[in-house]
C-alpha cells in the first residue's frame, strides 16, 4: 500500500521541454505545485501555457522524444514518478492516478462498447473476472448518473450524447477510486446545462470518494465553482498561486487581474461597462521574448521586468506571485 503523506503530489521545479525543428520549446519551465489528499486545485491558463503538458508529464503520457524532462521531480506519495519504469507507471495509471480529457469522443475507443472499455479497468487493475467486472462497470455507470446502465454497457460511444460520454469517461477514471484525478478541460466541449451537470457530478463524487482533483481549464468560472486553490500559468511558468478566494478577492499579478477583468460575465448583479483588454497575444513557447515573458503585454512593467524574470515568491501567507512589483509592494 501507498503511504499517504500530507503532500500527496508534489511537483518540484518540473521542466518538460520539447525538441522541435524550430528549436527548443520550454512547455513547462520550472513549475512547483503541491496537492494534498482530497484537495481540489485548479490550473488556469490560455492555450499553450503548458497546463496540459504538465498533466501529461505526471502520467508519463508524453511521447519521448520529442519531449524530455530537463529537470525537476514529480513526487507522488514521496516517490518520484519521473524515475518509474513503464510497467510501474502502467500499474499506477488508471489505478492511483487517472485522467479525463476534454473531448470524450476521441478519448473513448469507437469500436468497443462502453461496457467493454469500462470492464477492462476492473480486469486489469483489480484482477476481476469478466462477469464480475461487467457488474462493477454497470454499478459505476449508475453512480455517475447514466440512466439504464444495463442497456448502456452494450452501446458504442457514438450512440451516446456528449454529456453521457463524459460521464462514461468519469466512470472509467474513478473506477479504481484513484487518489488523484487529473481533469483536463472536462467541461469545455459541453453545453452549459450539461456542463452544470458534470460539475455537480464531479463535486459529489469527490466528496464520496475523497479523490483529489487537479482541474486544468481556461475557464475562471469553473475554477471559482469547485477549486480551493488555484495556480495561474503563462508560458510554462506559474505566475500566481493562491487560495481561490484570495485570488479572486485580491489578485496580485497583472496577468491575473487582466484575465479577471477581460472576461464578460452573465450574472446580473455584476455590471460590465467595458472589458479591459490584455494587449498583444500569447507568445509561442518556441519563440519567447527575452527577459520576462509577460513584460511586453504587461501594463505595469518597469525596467527590471525587461531584464530579468521575477521568481515565484510568497507575498502573503499561502499566496505566491511572480511579479517584481507585487512581491515587493
Amino acid at each position: 500500500m501507498w503511504v499517504v503523506s500530507s503532500r500527496m503530489l508534489s511537483i518540484r521545479n518540473l521542466k518538460t521541454y520539447f525538441r522541435t525543428p524550430k528549436g527548443l520549446a520550454r512547455a513547462v519551465d520550472g513549475v512547483s505545485l503541491d496537492i494534498g489528499p482530497g484537495e481540489v486545485v485548479g490550473v488556469v491558463g490560455e492555450s499553450g501555457c503548458g497546463k496540459s503538458v504538465m498533466a501529461l508529464s505526471i502520467l508519463g503520457l508524453l511521447p519521448r522524444p520529442p519531449a524530455y524532462f530537463a529537470g525537476g521531480e514529480i513526487l507522488f506519495n514521496d516517490q518520484d514518478l519521473l524515475k518509474f519504469k513503464p510497467d510501474e507507471m502502467r500499474r499506477l495509471r488508471g489505478n492511483q492516478i487517472s485522467m479525463i480529457f476534454q473531448e470524450p469522443m476521441s478519448a473513448l475507443n469507437p469500436v468497443f462498447t462502453v461496457g467493454n472499455q469500462l470492464q477492462e479497468v476492473f480486469q486489469v487493475h483489480r484482477n476481476l473476472g469478466r462477469a464480475e467486472a461487467l457488474q462493477n462497470a454497470i454499478d459505476m455507470l449508475a453512480k455517475v448518473g447514466v440512466p439504464a446502465p444495463e442497456r448502456r454497457v452494450r452501446e458504442y460511444p457514438y450512440q451516446l450524447s456528449g454529456g453521457m460520454r463524459q460521464r462514461v469517461m468519469i466512470a472509467m477514471a474513478l473506477a479504481c477510486r484513484p487518489a488523484l484525478l487529473l481533469a483536463d478541460e472536462p467541461t469545455t466541449a459541453l453545453d452549459v446545462s450539461i456542463q452544470a451537470q458534470i460539475i455537480e457530478l464531479m463535486t459529489a463524487l469527490k466528496e464520496e470518494l475523497d479523490t483529489a482533483i487537479l482541474l486544468i481549464t481556461h475557464d475562471l468560472g469553473v475554477v471559482a465553482e469547485i477549486t480551493r486553490r488555484v495556480a495561474v500559468m503563462y508560458t510554462g511558468k506559474i505566475m500566481e498561486e493562491a487560495p481561490t478566494l484570495d485570488l479572486f478577492d485580491a489578485p496580485l499579478h497583472p496577468y491575473t487581474r487582466g484575465l479577471l477583468t477581460s472576461i464578460p460575465r452573465a450574472d446580473a448583479s455584476f455590471e460590465t461597462e467595458s472589458l479591459t483588454e490584455i494587449k498583444g497575444v500569447v507568445p509561442s513557447v518556441a519563440a519567447l521574448p527575452p527577459g520576462y515573458h509577460f513584460e511586453p503585454r504587461c501594463p505595469e512593467a518597469i525596467d527590471i521586468c525587461r531584464a530579468q524574470a521575477p521568481a515565484l515568491e510568497e507575498a502573503r501567507p499561502g499566496h505566491r506571485v511572480a511579479c517584481w512589483r507585487a512581491a515587493h509592494a
Binding site: 484537495e39 446545462s193 456542463q195 463535486t203 483529489a212 464578460p264 446580473a268 455584476f270 467595458s274 490584455i278
Partner: protein, 348 residues
C-alpha cells in the same frame, strides 16, 4: 429604431434520407417558426445550446441554406423571393464572420487577396483603388497595411479573426452576422475582438446578429437577446431585462448554470435533467416540457405561443397565460448571506 431586418415565421426542415432509394424517413426540425426583427445600429444576440438552430437561422437569413418557408425582409425586400441577380446585389449589404478563423481563410491566398475578393465580386474598382480599400479595412480592424502581403498562417487566432472582420466590412455592409466569432479565441484575446466589433458598430452604423452559446459574451455585446431551444425562440427581451429577470424556465436554468468567476457567489442552481432532445422528433406540446421544472399538464399537450408579457419582453411559455405569473427569484442576483454554503472543494 427603423427595422433593417425582419424575420417572420422562418422554418427550415432538413429531410433525413435513408436506404438504397434515399427515401425520406424523417425530418429534422432545425428552425421552426422563428420571428424577430433587427433595427439599425442594433445588436440582437441569439443564444442557445448546440442543435438549437441558431446557426441555421443565421445561414437562412443570408440564404446560405435555403429556408423551407417564412419571410426574411431586408430593408423591406423579401430576400426569399428575390431573383438571383437581385439577391446578389443585396448580399453586399449582408456579411458574415464565422467561428473558426483557421478554417474560414484560404491558406493559399495572401491577406490582400482574401480581403479584396468581395470587392472584385461587387465593385468595379481599379487595382490601386482596391488596394487602398484593403489597407483601410486592415487599419480599421487594428492591423497594419503591410500585413497585406502575408499569409493567414503567419497570424495568431485573434489576428485572423480581425482579418475575417476586415473581409466582412470591406464592402461597408449594413448587417453583419457573427456566428460564434470569438468562441475559438483565447480568453485574453476575446475582449480585444469584442471591443473591436462594438467600436466598429458605432463607427460604421452596423447592425449585428450575434450568434453564440456563451451567455456572458451575448450579454456584453447585445442590445436585445433571443434565447433559442430546439429550433424556436423561447424568450426575446432587452438584454438587461432578460438577465435580471428571465421569464422562461429554460432561460432561468441556463443563467443559473453558467459558471461565474466569483467564488463567493451563493448558488441556487437549477440543474436541467437529461440532454436536449433530438430535433428529429421534438417533444409534443411545449418542446421544453420533458426538462422543465415547472411543467404543468397543459405543457404536454399544447404548444405555447410567443406572447408579449411585459414591455418588449416576449416569452413562449404556458406559465404566463393566465392568473398569477410565475415569479422566481432572479437566479444570479442574490448576494451571499451568512449561513450560505462556502464554495466546495478540498479540505486543505
Amino acid at each position: 429604431m427603423p427595422e433593417l431586418l425582419t424575420v417572420q415565421n422562418l422554418v427550415k426542415h432538413f429531410p433525413v434520407r435513408r436506404g438504397f432509394l434515399g427515401r425520406r424517413t424523417a425530418v429534422v426540425h432545425a428552425v421552426d417558426d422563428v420571428s424577430f426583427s433587427l433595427g439599425e445600429n442594433e445588436t440582437l444576440g441569439l443564444v442557445g445550446e448546440s442543435g438549437c438552430g441558431k446557426t441555421t437561422t443565421g445561414f437562412s437569413i443570408l440564404r446560405l441554406i435555403e429556408p423551407t418557408s417564412g419571410e426574411v425582409c431586408f430593408r423591406g425586400e423579401n430576400i426569399l423571393s428575390l431573383p438571383p441577380e437581385r439577391l446578389r446585389h443585396l448580399r453586399r449589404h449582408m456579411q458574415i464572420v464565422f467561428q473558426d478563423p483557421f478554417g474560414s481563410l484560404n491558406p493559399r491566398l495572401t491577406v490582400e487577396r482574401v480581403i479584396e475578393e468581395p470587392l472584385l465580386n461587387h465593385e468595379d474598382l481599379s487595382g490601386a483603388e482596391r488596394r487602398i480599400r484593403v489597407q483601410e479595412a486592415l487599419v480599421m480592424v487594428g492591423l497594419l497595411p503591410e500585413h497585406m502581403t502575408r499569409f493567414p498562417h503567419e497570424f495568431s487566432g485573434g489576428q485572423r479573426q480581425r482579418i475575417c472582420v476586415a473581409r466582412a466590412l470591406v464592402l461597408r455592409p449594413r448587417l453583419v452576422i457573427g456566428d460564434e466569432p470569438v468562441s475559438a479565441l483565447d480568453v485574453s484575446v476575446r475582449a480585444q475582438v469584442l471591443n473591436l466589433m462594438i467600436r466598429l458598430q458605432r463607427q460604421l452604423n452596423l447592425s449585428y446578429l450575434f450568434i453564440s452559446h456563451d451567455l456572458a459574451v451575448i450579454r456584453y455585446v447585445s442590445h436585445r437577446v433571443g434565447v433559442m431551444y430546439l429550433g424556436q425562440i423561447v424568450e426575446l427581451a432587452a438584454t438587461k431585462a432578460l438577465y435580471a429577470r428571465p421569464l422562461h424556465p429554460y432561460t432561468w436554468a441556463l443563467l443559473s448554470a453558467v459558471p461565474v468567476p466569483d467564488p463567493r457567489r451563493a448558488r441556487q442552481r437549477i440543474i436541467l435533467e437529461g440532454d436536449v432532445p433530438s430535433p428529429m422528433n421534438p417533444p409534443a406540446g411545449c418542446r421544453f416540457h420533458p426538462r422543465c421544472t415547472e411543467v404543468k399538464s397543459i405543457c404536454r399537450e399544447q404548444a405555447p405561443i410567443m406572447r408579449v408579457v411585459e414591455d418588449n419582453h416576449a416569452v413562449r411559455c404556458h406559465l404566463y397565460e393566465d392568473g398569477e405569473p410565475w415569479n422566481p427569484a432572479p437566479p444570479l442576483h442574490r448576494k451571499p448571506e451568512a449561513g450560505d454554503k462556502q464554495p466546495k472543494g478540498g479540505n486543505a
